[in-house]
Amino acid sequence: MPAPRLTLPDQSGTPWRLADHRDAATLLVFYRGDW
C-alpha cells in the first residue's frame, strides 16, 4: 500500500518531504507530543 504523501515543517521550519527520500527507507515515528 503506498504511504500517503507527507510534507511537514521540521524543527527549523524547513519543509520535509517524504518524496525527497526515495533513496532509502524512512522510519516514521508518531509521538503523542504535547510534552
Binding site: M1, P2, A3, P4, R5, L6, T7, L8, P9, D10, Q11, S12, G13, T14, W16, L18, A19, H21, R22, D23, A24, A25, T26, L27, L28, V29, F30, Y31, R32, G33, D34, W35
Partner: protein, 174 residues
C-alpha cells in the same frame, strides 16, 4: 531510537518523528535529547497524522496515537506497529529485524538543523528523566511480579525502561 540511530541508518533507513507540537517545541526536544533526526510539526494532524489514520481526538484536544511505520524506498508502507499507549512501543531490535528483511544498503542522515528552541513550561529536564524512568521501571516490575497476566508485559516494559535509562544517562547533562 536515537541511541541506536547508527544501526538504523546502516540498515538503510532514516528516521523522522511526527507530532502535533510546533517547530519551536520540536527544536527544544531535538536540543534537549540530542536527537540525530528531525521532528516534524503537524498541529491539527492534517498533514500526516490524520492521513495515516493515527488521529486520537479523545486526548488533549487531538494528538497522534503512537506508531512506528517503515516506508520503503519505493514509497510503499512496508511495516506498521500501532501502539495502544506511550508504553507500548516496538523495541529497536524488532525494528532492526524488519529493516534487515528489506535488505537495503547503508545510508547517512544529516544532523537536524537547530531551529529556534521554545521549550514548554512543563518540560522535564534531562537530569529529572532518570528518576522518572527508574520509577516507571520499578512499577512495571512490581506489577509484573504481582499480576500473573501482566508478567510478560511487565518484563517487556521493565527491559524497555532499562534501555531508556541507559540512553538518557549517556546524554550530556543540561
Amino acid at each position: 531510537l536515537a541511541h541506536r540511530h547508527k544501526e538504523i541508518t546502516a540498515a538503510g533507513a532514516r528516521v523522522v518523528g511526527i507530532s502535533v507540537d510546533d517547530p519551536g517545541r520540536n527544536a527544544a526536544m531535538v536540543e534537549k535529547l540530542h536527537l540525530p533526526f528531525p521532528l516534524l510539526a503537524d498541529p491539527g494532524g492534517g498533514g500526516a497524522i490524520k492521513p495515516y489514520g493515527l488521529w486520537n481526538p479523545e486526548e488533549k484536544g487531538g494528538i497522534a496515537y503512537p506508531a512506528v511505520l517503515i516506508v520503503g524506498p519505493d514509497g510503499e508502507e512496508r511495516h506498521r506497529v500501532d501502539s495502544r499507549d506511550f508504553a507500548d512501543r516496538p523495541t529497536e531490535d524488532e525494528i532492526l529485524e524488519h529493516l534487515a528483511a528489506l535488505d537495503l544498503g547503508s545510508v547517512t542522515q544529516e544532523p537536524p538543523a537547530p531551529g529556534d528552541p521554545q521549550p514548554s513550561d512543563r518540560a522535564v529536564k534531562v537530569r529529572a528523566l532518570v528518576p522518572y524512568l527508574l520509577g516507571a521501571k520499578s512499577t512495571a516490575k512490581a506489577i509484573g511480579l504481582r499480576v500473573p497476566e501482566a508478567q510478560e508485559q511487565g518484563a517487556r516494559h521493565t527491559a524497555m525502561m532499562a534501555t531508556w535509562i541507559e540512553a538518557v544517562r549517556a546524554l550530556p547533562r543540561d
